[in-house]
């Protein structure tokens, strides 16, 4: 039980941390009020979320086919597409593309976090800049993200000011406007010096090979637009059959992530090109000359075979459930693994194949079910938690048990 003892200590330290509790109670309050008004303004979202559930249910059953289809579409668009069976395979494909000694600007990606992408690239002798403000803070603090959409949700502005003062050697006040401007200044030139830009994707249309990238800061636009090469790492569960399906998934995702509409949605289907001179198609106009997409399985197709646990793959990563979890409200992402709260146990078991961590997370869930009420695609986390506990008790069932 040693891992459980360590885990419990981590959880309890977080629960006693007044800063986490304050930061989260503010976040929860503003999340609820923003989401309520976003849903009131766009009431069709609720019905659309039901449609999205159906789209995901179907898509998860045919991930391999969709990945194949998306690869063909991307190749047709003159991009390069790959299917990685495992995390190691994904890392190898990326390493072969990147090499060493490169400057990389990165958009936030949970899938990247899942396989330790940044650390891996750094070990290969590359310089990696996280460009999402929250993720940038986390990287500089040498910490790990504590929420899907707001990775630095547990860090108050005073701590950010201290961090930025240390980085810049200047005296940066705990003024949010100043902090944001400082990050902008620190990162601005990196976009244009970078050899490679990296991203994930919120949803991918298999028919057109289009990646949907939802954001507010504009860092993803720059990171995937300015450097000469764009590499995207995408979990296979992000694939849906058509462009129209993907639009629906994207809208529901941002609405439940508490936005009426995000500032930016980038749709990327291939490398930058022009035919303006003599109608000769030439690649690498203003955007990247090369576009690479890696679709990663890493346990997902096996998870899709599990009748109850497959629901975890419907997740849009909107982060809504986390705001409703009473345990998360006092512990933040310490309740979880690579992914957080109850559903995180499923990912720990099926994707990270860390049974001990999965057990620890599974027994931290209250099975109170409020996350399910909030979830746009009605993922029944209590049901999955009981199933994970059954697999643990019976010592069988999934490759990881």
């Amino acid at each position: 039980m040693s891992i459980f003892t360590d885990y419990k200590k981590e959880i309890m330290d977080a629960a006693h941390n007044e800063r986490i509790r304050i930061a989260l109670s503010r976040a929860i309050k503003s999340y609820r009020s923003n989401t309520n008004s976003a849903l009131k303004k766009f009431p069709h979202t609720i019905k659309m979320a039901e449609e999205v559930r159906e789209i995901k249910e179907k898509a998860i059953g045919e991930m391999e086919k969709l990945a194949q289809q998306a690869c063909e579409a991307i190749e047709e668009n003159k991009g390069k597409a790959y299917i990685a069976k495992t995390a190691d395979e994904a890392l190898k494909i990326i390493t072969d593309l990147v090499g060493t000694g490169k400057l990389i600007v990165k958009g936030k990606s949970m899938t990247g976090e899942e396989i330790g992408l940044r650390e891996h690239l750094e070990e290969q002798g590359n310089q990696v800049y996280e460009t999402d403000l929250g993720e940038f803070i986390i990287q500089k603090m040498n910490s790990r993200p504590m929420h899907i959409t707001s990775p630095a949700i547990h860090v108050p502005k005073e701590d950010v000011a201290r961090l930025f003062s240390r980085i810049t050697g200047e005296d940066i006040p705990p003024d949010i406007g100043v902090l944001v401007a400082t990050a902008r200044k620190l990162l601005r030139e990196k976009y244009f010096q970078a050899d490679i830009g990296m991203s994930g994707a919120n949803v991918v249309a298999a028919d057109t090979g289009t990646l949907f990238l939802i954001e507010n800061e504009g860092n993803i636009r720059l990171a995937t637009g300015a450097p000469p090469v764009h590499i995207a790492l995408v979990g296979m569960e992000k694939l849906v059959p058509t462009f129209g399906d993907a639009c629906k998934v994207a809208e529901v995702t941002w609405r439940y992530a508490n936005y009426t509409v995000p500032s930016y949605v980038s749709l990327v289907s291939g490398p930058s090109k022009t035919g303006d001179i003599e109608k000769v198609t030439t690649y690498g106009a203003h955007g990247p000359r090369e576009f690479h997409v890696i679709f990663m399985d890493d346990g997902r197709t096996e998870l899709a075979q599990q009748p109850i646990l497959r629901q975890a793959l419907y997740c849009l990563r909107c982060g809504a459930c986390l705001y409703e979890c009473p345990v998360f409200a006092v512990t933040a992402g310490y309740f979880g693994d690579k992914y957080f709260a109850g559903i995180g146990a499923v990912w720990a078991a099926a994707v990270s194949r860390d049974t001990e961590r999965a057990a620890a997370v599974a027994y931290t869930c209250l099975t109170c079910g409020r996350c399910k009420i909030r979830c746009p695609v009605q993922i029944d986390t209590p049901e999955m938690i009981v199933e994970i506990r059954r697999l643990i008790a019976e010592g069988a069932g999934s490759p990881s048990f």
């Binding site: 039980m1 459980f4 003892t5 419990k8 200590k9 959880i11 309890m12 629960a15 609820r32 409703e324 009473p326 345990v327 409200a329 006092v330 512990t331 049974t355 001990e356 057990a359 027994y363 931290t364 869930c365 209250l366 099975t367 109170c368 079910g369 409020r370 399910k372 009420i373 009981v386 994970i388 506990r389 059954r390 697999l391 643990i392 008790a393 019976e394 010592g395 069988a396």
Partner: protein, 337 residues
């Protein structure tokens, strides 16, 4: 249970599971001591409709003592070694749990299980005919399900059904939300041809209340805390509120957001309190705070686990002005029964 599983399931939960399997209740108490609350209520032991008391209310004092002890340990230096077997604690500290319950139960016989006594009086007063199996009442085994011991749960479910059928039971009035959900929704998945009709106390009260005058002894502001199992699992959100609204003298004041299906869990779900005693208490305090902010003088809820948690939460908040009562107690007071 596989050997590996033994290392992965928190010991607090295996302790409870052992009690259910060997003693047919969550505390490992004797069945007769649990059923003592109904001694003077003259309920028939054989009836087609039975009142299902469940473990929670019957063993409240025992559970309270156990939980407060575990919490103290969890916060102490020894707590750093948690979780380890509760039985291990007993040995290490020389505490005799079984003896402690006996003492507590002997001392506290009257006030313990008050919600059950009140529920029975209310149902009788409304003209509902029912019996009580007393020491023959089986444990629904819900915790086995939530711990992940599905095979043990299924075996227990078949025994429960067989026993109820052999005693001639056709209809069940449940009161503990978790037992009610288990008897209504979980056990039928494990039994072929399950034909018991299961209703919850609040549904039965509402059906039989008619136009009866209900008057609370004083003017009072009351808030209602939905238990997870009652609201989100059984979908009984309006029923308790309709009952409360029918009582003159009671003003129902509710939280802005955290009510009904959005109610915040008290922190005592599915054995959580046995694995994370201290964290469970933090959550109890958070929920108690939300409810107190409504300005209510009484927090009404309808689950033995929630009652324990919220009382403890109020105690930690050093709030002595707000009371926690079960819906059955409130109705009984309003009926003057």
């Amino acid at each position: 249970m596989s050997r590996k599983a033994k290392d992965l399931i928190p010991p607090g939960l295996t302790y409870i599971a052992d009690n259910i399997i060997s003693k047919h209740n969550i505390l490992g108490e004797s069945k007769a001591s649990g059923a003592r609350w109904a001694k003077d209520l003259n309920l028939p032991k054989r009836a087609e409709t039975i009142f299902f008391a469940g473990c929670g209310y019957q063993y409240t004092s025992g559970l309270e003592s156990l939980s407060s002890l575990i919490r103290r340990m969890d916060k102490s230096v020894i707590g750093a070694e948690l979780p380890m077997g509760i039985a291990g604690f007993q040995k290490k500290l020389g505490i005799d749990f079984a003896g402690m319950y006996r003492k507590v139960l002997a001392r506290d016989k009257g006030s313990d299980a008050q919600p059950l006594r009140d529920a029975v009086r209310v149902l009788k007063d409304l003209g509902v005919k029912f019996g009580y199996l007393a020491d023959e009442e089986p444990c629904c085994g819900a915790l086995l399900h939530y711990i992940g011991l599905q095979k043990e749960f299924a075996r227990n479910a078949q025994e429960v059904y067989g026993k109820l059928k052999s005693l001639g039971v056709k209809r069940i009035i449940g009161i503990v939300p978790s037992c009610t959900y288990t008897l209504r929704n979980l056990i039928p998945n494990c039994v072929d041809g399950y034909d018991l009709e299961v209703k919850h106390f609040s549904e039965v009260v509402l059906e039989n209340m008619g136009s009866r005058e209900l008057q609370f002894p004083r003017e009072v502001k009351v808030t209602y805390h939905d238990s997870c199992q009652l609201a989100r699992y059984l979908g009984l959100i309006e029923e308790p509120r309709q009952i409360l609204r029918a009582i003159k003298g009671i003003e129902l004041v509710e939280t802005d957001w955290t009510k009904g299906e959005w109610a915040t869990c008290c922190g005592g779900g599915g054995g959580f309190e046995a694995v994370f005693p201290e964290l469970s208490q933090i959550l109890a305090v958070n929920r108690a705070r939300e409810l107190v902010e409504t300005g209510a003088e009484i927090i009404v809820t309808h689950c033995p686990g929630c009652i324990m948690q919220l009382k403890d939460g109020l105690k930690e908040l050093k709030n002595g002005n707000v009371e926690v009562l079960d819906l059955a107690q409130i109705v009984a007071m309003a009926m003057e029964v």
